[in-house]
């Protein structure tokens, strides 16, 4: 199936048929293209000194805003925090999601039930999940605080200490999104061909060897896709962090979107907010390029294997 028979060409080609794919895909494109206009506006704002509360200062400054940004240590703090958050969430979710997927690999009534039950956190809006964890980590009546207190950790401060704030928001993210990773990897695992595994079992190959030499390599395309997908979402995290700490304590959780949101909606600094978003957009654009290329490659390979 490497070469898809072009069914438009198969019957005698007509002009109408040639236009068909455009007719089919253009409405979707047009709906989204409207979004490009505000995108252009944002790019234009990012080249201006523009604070709504100081209209008299408004003016075109070219790249100056970006230069200010790149020489500001707090910008690099934002980059660092975003990178740590993204790395930690994607890493943990990948390992955990893969482990759970392996546990549920066999198709059985019980395993299917568990995998559906595990989707529950995914149904919970991240903003609401953050609210839940805020309740559960409240030092006065929160059940999680109480439980760890029973184990002697009476001074653990969850989101309100810089040392544990990152842990807390990562925990919420892991709780919400691991099921997403799990279900994608489970899907991948279940669609792997069975012969190599059967052959390995007949030969008595040790489980560890099977995992590292057969399962993992075969699963790699799925792992890459799922990780990239989460990576792109995670680097743009807003709901969870904003609801938990608004970027605090200190600057310890000031990721890109939280900072840009504060810059716009609280400090009315449109120019700086737009510049921050453009930087984030450049990062995600590069990553999503990688993502889509990887996905296309994977698709070719699976189709080629048929």
């Amino acid at each position: 199936m490497a070469e898809i028979p072009d069914i438009a060409a198969a019957p005698p080609a007509r002009a109408g048929m040639r236009a068909l794919p455009y007719l089919l895909s253009l409405p979707a494109l047009l709906v989204c293209i409207g979004i490009l206009v505000p995108f252009g506006t944002a790019a234009w704002y990012s080249l201006q000194r523009y604070n709504l509360a100081m209209p008299y200062l408004r003016g075109f400054v070219g790249w100056a805003q970006y230069l200010d940004l790149f020489t500001d240590p707090s910008f690099w703090q934002t980059v660092k925090v975003s990178a740590i958050y993204t790395g930690a969430t994607v890493g943990v979710e990948l390992v955990l999601g893969l482990a759970i997927a392996l546990l549920l690999r066999e198709r059985s009534w019980f395993n299917n039930f568990v995998s559906v039950a595990l989707l529950l956190p995914l149904m919970t809006a991240p903003a609401i999940a953050a609210l839940m964890f805020k309740l559960m980590t409240n030092p006065n009546f929160g059940v999680l605080s109480w439980i760890i207190g029973k184990f002697g950790a009476t001074d653990f401060r969850w989101a309100s200490a810089p040392s544990s704030a990152m842990f807390t928001v990562v925990l919420v993210d892991v709780w919400v999104y691991t099921p997403f990773m799990m279900i994608l990897l489970l899907a991948g695992l279940r669609s792997l061909p069975q012969q190599p595994f059967e052959a390995a079992r007949l030969d008595g190959v040790p489980a560890r060897f099977v995992f590292f030499r057969i399962t993992l390599p075969m699963l790699t395309p799925y792992i890459v896709t799922a990780s990239l997908f989460r990576l792109l979402d995670s680097i743009q995290q807003f709901d969870i962090i904003y609801a938990m700490t608004q970027g605090g304590p200190g600057d310890s959780l000031l990721v890109f979107q939280v900072r840009a949101y504060l810059e716009f909606f609280q400090y009315t600094n449109v120019g700086l907010s737009a510049a921050l978003m453009m930087v984030l957009w450049a990062i995600t654009y590069a990553l999503s390029n990688l993502f889509i290329k990887q996905w296309l490659k994977l698709r070719e390979r699976t189709h080629g294997a048929h």
Partner: protein, 285 residues
């Protein structure tokens, strides 16, 4: 060998139990909280046995919230209705636009085709705030601010790429031979599309729709910025229980439960499509 097998089994059971506890305990706990009064919630140690009260749910459903400063109106059911309307309409529109486009990308090779597909996919990954800021200005000029139509349009950013992405993979998976044969029989392209292609991709479309629904339902910031109070979804509505005269923990818990229920019901109903749909469409492509 048998002994390690048994041990393995026990370990596996323990691991699964731990996983279930980690992912389900928070929800179970919120369920318990939603049946407690504020005073019961604020007690330590936390209780598992208590006299349940339906007051929290009653307050949400009647829309009257009792606080230290008197009764407040809380239009939570309206928020719930908005969420249902926004998510359903957005997914419906996305399917309407996305399925034909996905079919076009899967079945035809055409100039700029891959470019268009890439552009559409990349929308999924653009930072939402980036477009949101100027959009609030344009919406004012276009008369779209504070309308459901405007919101549903913006929600396409969440739903459309997702649907396109999954459904396209599905169409590519299904062999075009059947359609081809059908077309050779003298049926029009449109009939082949609606009678053959769509039914074959059914599970994938269902899975994509469901996933898009979940993401639309979970959105927080779009409606907050672009619409007035009577069009806010539950994600914003759940904040209403934090009032100047105190935090209504029980009602927050009840609101969380009510906000999860619809997606949960939908997911349970459609679960076989979700797991299988994703396994075939999303990753494999």
């Amino acid at each position: 060998m048998a002994r390690t097998d048994g041990l393995w089994r026990v370990l596996r059971g323990l691991a699964l139990a731990a996983v279930l506890v980690f992912f389900l305990f928070p929800i179970a706990w919120i369920v318990l909280m939603s049946f407690q009064t504020n005073e019961q919630i604020l007690q330590l140690p936390p209780r598992v046995v208590f006299t349940p009260t339906l007051a929290n749910y009653a307050a949400l459903i009647s829309g009257k919230l009792h606080t230290a400063a008197g009764d407040l109106d809380v239009p939570f059911l309206r928020n719930l209705g908005n969420s249902v309307l926004l998510s359903t309409a957005s997914v419906a529109l996305s399917l309407l636009l996305g399925v034909p486009a996905a079919y076009a990308f899967a079945r035809f090779r055409f100039r700029l085709g891959e470019n268009i597909a890439f552009t559409l996919l990349s929308f999924r990954f653009a930072p939402p705030l980036l477009v949101l800021l100027p959009l609030s200005l344009y919406f004012q000029d276009l008369g779209l601010s504070n309308t459901y139509v405007g919101l549903i349009w913006v929600y396409q950013l969440i739903c459309l790429p997702l649907i396109l992405w999954i459904v396209r993979g599905y169409f590519e998976d299904a062999s075009p031979d059947v359609e081809y044969a059908y077309r050779v029989d003298g049926h029009s392209w449109w009939r082949a599309f609606t009678r053959i292609a769509i039914p074959l991709a059914g599970p994938g479309i269902a899975a994509a729709g469901l996933l898009a629904f979940i993401f639309a339902w979970n959105n927080f910031v779009f409606a907050l910025i672009l619409a007035s109070a009577d069009k806010q979804p539950v994600t914003v509505g759940a904040l209403a229980f934090v009032t100047a005269s105190g935090i209504q923990y029980g009602q927050i818990a009840a609101a969380i439960m009510l906000s999860i229920l619809p997606t949960l019901a939908l997911a349970l109903y459609a679960q076989r499509w979700l797991v299988e749909g994703l396994s075939l469409g999303a990753v494999k492509g």
